[in-house]
């Protein structure tokens, strides 16, 4: 007699990301201070970003341009009327004790981006992730606490206002993500897009891209959201994934034990690979938002919008699609090549110059990437131009040189650049495919090694490799391998 085992409730995670991106402007959002990372404390400040009495903010137009371009790239609707608001709270890293941000009329809303995932069968698939909103705001300063790593418990705190007023763009996703892997992929794709636009360098270590995660669990099939937990302090994509996976496990276990999830903010601890509770939310904070009276409303002229739209580069998703469908690359190669816009552009230039796409991809992802990593260079600093790489690929393809010769030539081409074709001609590296020339050389080699020839003819056929080696040595590797082998076998057999 069997009775049905009680069905165990299956939970699903509901995840949304709030991403703060520092916009890569040379000056701050409301003053002309520099934004460079790493200056000595309080060396990039002025009365305006210090919130001194009587000073006024003036919007850096580059910030607006970058935010609008990011909004456009994320398929958002750009607001025809937008404004700044004051978000009020007291904290020593916020000189005015209010942050100039955007509340109810953000510059961009209702967008989406598409991420690439792998389905259960291991095949690539796509998912659209909604973008709720994108708004502009100023960054706060940095506090260095004495005697503790937090404000509470410290004996003193030092304030560094260099970062105060650095322009930020906050991008809020819809709660469309369901796993750590999806969230990490979303964050990576977002960074790729922002980097393509050139509006954010996406350096997570330096904090120019910061992701906060909102996560709740609910039984599969339920539409109502569970209690939301916020996770902060992840400074890599990997950390985002692991923090979420940890949190899913923690919350699922708690739910299975009948515990309640508390609405709180948790910190990801890299050392212990856990999230720990930072503060429990007691209701929602009242930031007393109201329109910033020191700044005018933003009413973007239609021509300006059209202009900025026209300046958008081709985005990574579009490139990936093109590489796979038109250039015949694998999803993996397409993804790798398009990760960085300058690499993709190098690749495309190589293809345009006549290089076979698959070969170009192999060279770029292989030897060239290796070289760049070793020398800590960007592909834009490479002496070898796409034209040169394309020539090299063509020379191999039409059998002018062997792959081996090509590999030998590469170090010089990489460091000094120039034309692969000219180099081959200058150094006399053209492959020898003429049967007459090759026959003469084979004859000479056979004459010089009578003993080995006799051994071969007595059945030690693996000595063929020895003879090939001798011919290559004699020709400096230039003997065309296929023809050489054919002719050699004929001669060896006598």
């Amino acid at each position: 007699m069997t009775s049905a085992a009680p069905v165990k409730t299956q939970y699903e995670a509901v995840i949304g990301l709030e991403t703060h991106c520092q916009l890569k402007t040379t000056t701050k959002i409301f003053c002309s201070c520099a934004t460079d990372f790493g200056a000595p404390p309080n060396h990039q400040v002025c009365p305006i970003c210090m919130g001194m009495p009587g000073v006024l903010p003036v919007l850096n137009q580059k910030v607006l341009e970058y935010a609008v371009k990011a909004g456009l790239a994320l398929n958002c609707q750009i607001a025809s009327y937008s404004k700044f608001d004051r978000k009020q709270y007291f904290y020593p890293d916020l000189p005015k004790n209010y942050q100039i941000s955007q509340y109810d009329l953000p510059i961009a809303e209702h967008g989406w981006l598409e991420i690439e995932l792998v389905d259960a069968a291991g095949d690539p698939c796509h998912k659209k992730v909604g973008i709720t909103r994108l708004h502009m705001e100023e960054d706060a300063g940095k506090l260095v606490h004495g005697g503790s790593d937090r404000l509470s418990g410290s004996t003193y705190s030092l304030a560094d206002f260099n970062r105060t007023g650095v322009p930020l763009c906050e991008i809020v996703s819809e709660p469309d993500l369901r796993s750590g892997a999806e969230a990490a992929e979303y964050a990576q794709e977002l960074r790729r897009i922002l980097r393509y636009l050139g509006v954010c360098d996406g350096n997570m270590q330096e904090g120019s891209l910061r992701c906060d995660v909102n996560i709740s669990m609910r039984p599969v099939g339920q539409t109502k959201f569970g209690t939301k937990v916020e996770i902060k302090n992840m400074n890599s994509f990997n950390a985002i994934q692991r923090a979420i996976d940890y949190e899913i496990e923690r919350q699922t276990e708690a739910l299975e034990c009948g515990e309640l999830i508390i609405q709180e903010t948790r910190l990801w601890e890299e050392g212990t690979q856990q999230t720990i509770s930072m503060r429990v939310k007691e209701g929602s904070s009242d930031y007393r938002y109201f329109p910033e009276p020191d700044l005018c409303a933003i009413e973007l002229p239609a021509e300006q919008l059209v202009q900025w739209q026209s300046e958008l580069p081709e985005l990574p998703a579009h490139k990936r699609h093109y590489y796979e469908t038109e250039l015949g690359l694998s999803a993996y190669d397409a993804r790798l090549l398009t990760d960085d816009r300058v690499v993709a552009e190098y690749f495309e230039s190589t293809v345009v110059a006549g290089g076979n796409p698959k070969q170009a991809a192999n060279w770029i992802m292989g030897d060239i990437t290796g070289y760049l990593n070793n020398h800590k260079l960007s592909i834009t600093e490479l002496a070898l131009q796409p034209q040169g790489l394309a020539e090299l690929i063509v020379l191999i393809e039409n059998s002018t040189i062997s792959s081996k010769i090509a590999k030998d030539l590469l170090p010089e081409l990489l460091s000094r650049g120039g034309s692969a074709k000219e180099m081959v001609e200058r150094q006399g590296l053209t492959q020898i495919a003429d049967p007459g020339t090759l026959t003469t050389m084979i004859n000479e080699v056979l004459l010089a090694h009578p003993q080995e020839l006799e051994q071969y003819r007595n059945g030690k056929t693996k000595l063929q490799g020895f003879f090939v080696g001798q011919i290559m040595k004699k020709t400096g590797g230039r003997a065309e391998p296929k023809i050489t082998n054919q002719l050699l076998v004929q001669k060896l057999k006598g």
């Binding site: 009495p53 009020q88 005015k96 209010y98 304030a159 109201f290």
Partner: protein, 481 residues
Amino acid sequence: MASIRELHQQLVSKERSCTEVTEAALAQIQQLEPKLHSFLAVTAEQALEQARQVDAQIAAGQPIGPLAGIPIGIKDNLCTQGIPTTCASRILQNFIPSYESTVTQKLQNAGAVMVGKTNLDEFAMGSSTENSAYQVTANPWDIERVPGGSSGGSAAAVAAGECVVALGSDTGGSIRLPASFCGVVGLKPTYGLVSRYGLVAFASSLDQIGPLAQSVEDAAILLGAIAGYDPQDSTSLNVAIPDYTQSLIPDIKGKRIGVIQETFGEGLDPVVEKTVQEAIQQLKDLGAEIKEVSCPRFRYGLPTYYIIAPSEASANLARYDGVKYGFRAEADNLLAMYKQTRSQGFGAEVKRRIMIGTYTLSAGYYDAYYLKAQKVRTLIKQDFEQAFEQVDVLVSPTAPTTAFKAGEKTTDPLTMYLSDLMTVPVNLAGLPSLSLPCGFDPQGLPIGLQMISNVLCEGILLQVAYAYEQATPWHKHSPQV
């Protein structure tokens, strides 16, 4: 004291040196300050240095502008580089700005001689200058009485001849009310005409800097010197600035002048009412067409103002926390330091307004207060727009009463707020407005006439005021301190 034009002629004709003019102003200050307390700081050294430079310019035969060598008082909520700027608040006791406000920079470039920083209600919040953390300024016409506020120091100094002209700031009447109480001309320009950069903010959407002067002409000259677009102030208007002295034509025949009906009646001192009616008759006699005009929402100005101004103030004043500059109270932890610093650093009126503003912006109250106030503000603006379809200039009393006695209203903030009844709607609408003397009450206290014109129509405002002034003797009276 002589007018700007007279002094300018004396300087260029070398009848008097700039140093002599400056010394005379400083002597007047030294003599009267024990009674008046108009100045929080007298900058004698810098003034004499500036005077020497102007003298050198004149000696070298270089041309000088109309304001060169003219002694001027600056309200102490305008930042002056290297010179303490306190806003009459304890919280900014030792605050020395490292930057100059746009207006004072313009005046410096014009060669004006700043003789000192004038007293005000703390952070310009008040109607009597009694809210200063440092001193109470006396009205030169009766030192038992207040000079009005918040630019009371500037108005008293100009009235008493401690300086020729002065700068004030007007958020709800802070230039016009003291001008009325002290018997001088006070002009609040169109919002955005004068840069606010370096003006310590009280209520950003209402604050505007303007002149206090002994005559309409002096006010026009000073306005011309400070007006103009400033890329450092996003709310400043990018418009060409006319030569305001060209508007000083003593002829207003056919000009349409509207009398705001809602400013007469209950709450208005009968003497003030009678005097202002006489002034209106005078304008009629000068050939103006007088019309009765209704601004039905005018009376909602005061409650609207007392929501919007404190709301903005509560945020503007959040920066005074003891962390970065100014006064800091020692305490065991951050929160206690914040509380102690702000409790000890701010005066009662400032705290009251911070609390009101914090309340009106709070979640759950925002719609009922701040948002509603903004809607009423729009309606008040519309009333004015409609009125200006019919008339060129609106007139009203500047204040319901003449100067009251010091201490008379300090215990009742609401009564004090009523002093601004006539002036606040103008700030809500962003319009230009001035107050000029139109008579005296039986105690010999000055009465002010308020004139309001449409946005950026300072010219017509000055023209009507000038014509009235030239036809009446009031500006020739000076107080005997």
